[in-house]
């Protein structure tokens, strides 16, 4: 890593100091980092803020919230303020109640004497506090588990079926010679030119007439065969030598076994790429589930997020926490499979 960062233009030309191009590069990269990563980081930080901290102005980056103290004689913890008295001295007092612009406060050290303070003379005492309740309360408050399960089910099942069907189509298109092969391929590719919004209504009519409305399968099935996937896998499979298939045929392998034991393992890098894409498409999919699923127990996470916002008052703290949870699977999948994306795309693109 250190070696990577110090492999600068200045170093290469035998100087120890950074060349001006290095400064420009670093500035550009840091700017990129801030632009790309800043909002995500802000989102994560905000998801740990309490509802009141979220509405605070000016907003803070870290999740601060007002310090609460337990004062003898009071059941609830009281919010702590820094108060400036007439002598100009500051005290940390807890507020008992507030009427208009006057607050009744108490010194935690002398709980018997109550003091009246103008609210303009006090500042809340903040402390860094991660409101993990945003996350833990989610599970009880909404049927979060159901949404998560729906999303996971749709994503995983759809990805598996997509991989299976697309790779079978790609195998046929890349390794068999039959009349109309080119036509079929061109037809499949041609569907890339049709925007999904155009087929939204026909697809809805089909799904509704086969009775898959409000069913997770109604979300899964329509987009199982993707032209992008077929194309990606076909291009990759073209690079697998035909001699391997011939050898397998001489080895008494059935065509299914050739596909299952030879083609699939060898197409693994391209399959990984498609798996990632499919995972992302399905996880982030919003429009199609919104149309097919109208009962809240069938909602995916994305629909549930939307439903949060639809209510009269948006509970931003929960919404943000949920958004963070929705991001996690994609991040994990990317972290583990990212090396396949680069190698897969690179090698699928060569031929």
């Amino acid at each position: 890593m250190a070696n990577f960062f110090t492999r600068t233009c200045g170093r290469v030309h035998g100087r120890t100091r950074l060349h001006w191009t290095d400064w420009v590069s670093y500035a550009y990269l840091v700017a990129g980092l801030v632009v790309m990563f800043g909002p995500v980081l802000w989102l994560v930080m905000s998801s740990f803020k309490t509802e009141s901290a979220l509405s605070q102005f000016p907003p803070s980056f870290l999740p601060y919230s007002q310090k609460m103290v337990v004062v003898a004689g009071h059941d609830q913890p009281l919010p702590l303020y820094r108060v400036k008295d007439e002598q100009g001295q500051t005290h940390e007092w807890a507020q008992v109640r507030r009427i208009g612009i006057m607050a009744t406060m108490v010194d935690p050290l002398q709980p018997q004497t109550e003091l009246k303070v103008n609210i303009n003379d006090r500042q809340p005492v903040n402390e860094l506090k991660f409101a993990s309740g945003n996350y833990t309360e989610l599970f009880g408050k909404f049927s979060f588990g159901t949404y998560l399960w729906n999303s996971v089910f749709i994503t995983v099942v759809a990805t598996l079926i997509t991989l299976l069907f697309n790779s079978m189509a790609a195998f046929a298109l890349s390794k068999y010679r039959f009349t109309g092969q080119k036509t079929v391929f061109v037809l499949i590719i041609a569907t890339l030119m049709i925007p999904p919004t155009i087929i939204l209504v026909p697809a809805f009519l089909v799904i509704s007439s086969v009775g898959l409305l409000n069913s997770l399968w109604g979300v899964i099935l329509p987009a199982v065969a993707t032209p992008t996937g077929v194309f990606l896998l076909r291009q990759y499979m073209l690079t697998i030598p035909d001699e391997l298939l011939e050898a397998a045929r001489m080895d008494n392998a059935s065509e299914w076994r050739i596909y299952w034991k030879i083609i699939l393992p060898l197409a693994a890098p391209a399959m990984a790429v498609l798996a990632i894409f499919s995972f992302m498409w399905r996880w982030n999919d919003f429009l199609w589930p919104l149309i097919v699923l109208s009962k809240s127990e069938k909602f995916t996470l994305q629909l549930a997020l939307n439903a949060f916002q639809g209510e009269l008052n948006t509970q931003w703290n929960y919404l943000l926490a949920m958004t963070v949870i929705t991001l996690i699977p994609i991040t994990v999948v990317f972290a583990f499979l990212q090396k396949y994306i680069t190698t897969g795309i690179a090698s699928a693109g060569v031929k």
């Binding site: 001699e243 008494n252 392998a253 034991k261």
Partner: protein
């Protein structure tokens, strides 16, 4: 262990005919080599026998049974490919076991057979390696091992040694010959290298442009080539052809006379006059390159070393019983 019979086999792609009516019989236990220049159809013929390609017309009989409509898997042939075609994601063991697994052979039987093949080919230590971790010669042996575990009727080799370096090729040549004598199986071997053909074959089939030019034992082909093409193809360096007019005492009707470089001799009273254009000194032998008439290049092998230099003119003769005469159509007289 099987016989193979090809009758009038023709293969054409669209309008181009690659194989033009081949008739051939291979008897049980024979080692047959198909040899010919590139594009002569020898690999295609092998693929037709294996079942990977279909014949346009004609019949293929294996063990007396017509197999034209039998799939590659059920013909009982095994093939070693030029690129070895090892499954890159499987270990050596799995590569060899794959064919048997497909046949539903019990695991214990597979293990014994693969062990036996591995032992025969000295692959025992490498069974858990992947093909990419093997050298060329080892890969070649795995490919052969894969074909012998299934105990096929017919072994087919498609230029299996062409990816190896010269030294390894010589030793693998011997290994394959050795394997043939141990297994006693019928083998068909395709190569474009006439040295391989000469050293390995029981029977050589010389092909050109989809025709069989000549079938015979290596020495038959060397001693009695039936036409000018076979004469030029078999033997290294290739046979010299001299116009019959330059050769006193040539057979009547002969158009050209063939003299092998190893039979030509330097002689003061020789009938041919050769202008030397290049001398290759190999230590034990020397090869003179030149020509007797401008359009007829001539090569001559001398044993030992020589002082003849470029530009010299030498007289050449050849023993009459080592001369080959060809008519204007190139056929042997």
């Amino acid at each position: 262990m099987a016989t193979l019979q090809l009758s009038n086999v023709v293969k054409s792609f669209d309008k181009i005919t690659i194989i033009q009516g081949i008739n051939l019989t291979v008897s049980d236990g024979e080692f047959v080599v198909f040899v010919g220049p590139s594009g002569c159809g020898k690999s295609t013929l092998l693929r037709i026998i294996s079942g990977l390609e279909t014949a346009t017309s004609g019949d293929i009989h294996i063990d007396g049974q017509r197999v034209n409509d039998v799939s590659a898997a059920h013909r009982g042939c095994s093939m070693v490919f030029q690129s070895y075609a090892l499954y890159p994601h499987m270990t050596v063991y799995d590569n060899m076991a794959f064919g048997l697994e497909n046949l539903g052979v019990p695991k214990s039987v597979i293990a014994t057979k693969v062990q036996a093949a591995a032992k025969l080919l000295q692959l025992e230590q490498l069974q858990q390696r992947k093909p990419t971790q093997l050298s060329g010669g080892q890969r070649q042996r795995v490919a052969i091992g894969r074909s012998i575990v299934r105990e096929p009727k017919l072994f087919l080799f498609d230029e299996p040694l062409s990816n190896l370096d010269a030294e390894l090729r010589v030793s693998m040549r011997a290994e394959i010959r050795d394997l043939h004598s141990r297994l006693g199986a019928t083998m068909i071997y395709v190569t474009h290298d006439q040295v391989e053909a000469m050293t390995m074959a029981d029977k050589i089939v010389v092909l050109r442009d989809g025709h069989i030019e000549q079938v015979g034992t290596p020495l038959d082909l060397y001693n009695q080539p039936c036409n000018q093409f076979v004469a030029g193809f078999i033997g290294s360096p290739r046979m010299n052809f001299v116009p019959a007019s330059q050769m006193p005492g040539a057979k009547a009707g002969a158009h050209s006379v063939g003299i092998r470089p190893e039979h030509a001799q330097l002689a003061d009273d020789g009938p041919l006059q050769m202008t030397v254009s290049m001398v290759e000194q190999l230590g034990s032998t020397s090869i003179l390159h030149g020509h007797v008439v401008p359009e007829a290049p001539f090569e001559l092998i001398l044993s030992g070393q020589t002082t003849i230099r470029r530009g010299d003119t030498v007289k050449v003769s050849a023993p009459p019983d080592h001369l080959h005469y060809f008519d204007p159509n190139g056929l042997r007289l």
